[in-house]
Symmetry: C2
Subunit: 142 residues, 2 copies
């Protein structure tokens, strides 16, 4: 794989976290998926390799990886989902309702909103677009 797993190893080490096999496979799984995945999704995918992988491990690692900003999280239909975070530029996502694929959206008017609401202090914001990606739009039968 030409995936730059080293940057993730470095990040783990920088945070005094150990580079374990399971952790790396979770990161790889999320890199390969490149969409929001639930704890169960990840367990399913890694089941052949690690049949006895405990939920405890998955949840703990998802939490840890989100904490060091390797992952970003969002709630999709009641379940927490995670995906690899992109740290190079601020962005949000379009999420396909059918296949779960995500697309990056760049435009973010947070300054516009800050000036619309002068008296408040915006500390955080969530933007998500939902719908059908090109492929799923084609595949739809009406």
């Amino acid at each position: 794989m030409g995936n730059n797993l080293n940057q993730y190893k470095d990040k783990l080490r920088k945070n005094k976290l150990k580079v374990t096999e399971k952790r790396m496979r979770m990161i790889e799984t999320l890199l390969e998926g490149d969409r929001y995945m639930s704890a169960k999704d990840i367990q399913e995918i890694l089941k052949p390799e690690y049949p006895g992988m405990s939920y405890d491990t998955i949840y703990r690692n998802l939490y840890t990886l989100k904490d060091i900003e390797v992952l970003e999280q969002t709630t999709l239909s009641g379940e927490m989902h995670y995906k690899i975070a992109c740290t190079t530029h601020h962005h949000h996502h379009f999420i396909c309702d059918d296949c779960g694929e995500t697309k990056v959206i760049r435009y973010c008017p947070v300054e516009t909103w800050q000036s619309e609401l002068e008296d408040v202090e915006i500390k955080n914001h969530k933007i998500e677009l939902y719908g059908l990606c090109g492929a799923c739009k084609e595949a739809r039968i009406y």
Copy 2:
């Protein structure tokens, strides 16, 4: 109260739903609160009046009222929250992390995003700003 509860009664009847005491008190509670509230919030507030009000009733009514667009919903820290919907114009919210007060934001660049992502079909979107409202910002001790 000068609150126009009649429009809500009409809306219920239009949808062949019964105008019950509990339903109307839930609507009143949400009107008075005018912020996102959880099922538990509502149960707490109505407890003196209806000590035995069942969760089923609360959840079913929240769902029903969202369904007929009397309420809008969002997930806040893992819990579903509801507030009275404004149907006259499209908008989103700023939500105060401290007191839960909401402020309407008008600017919504959904067309901009649609042209940024030509191939997808945006069917839905979620925009939420979080932070401190004017009052809570003042009240903060640093």
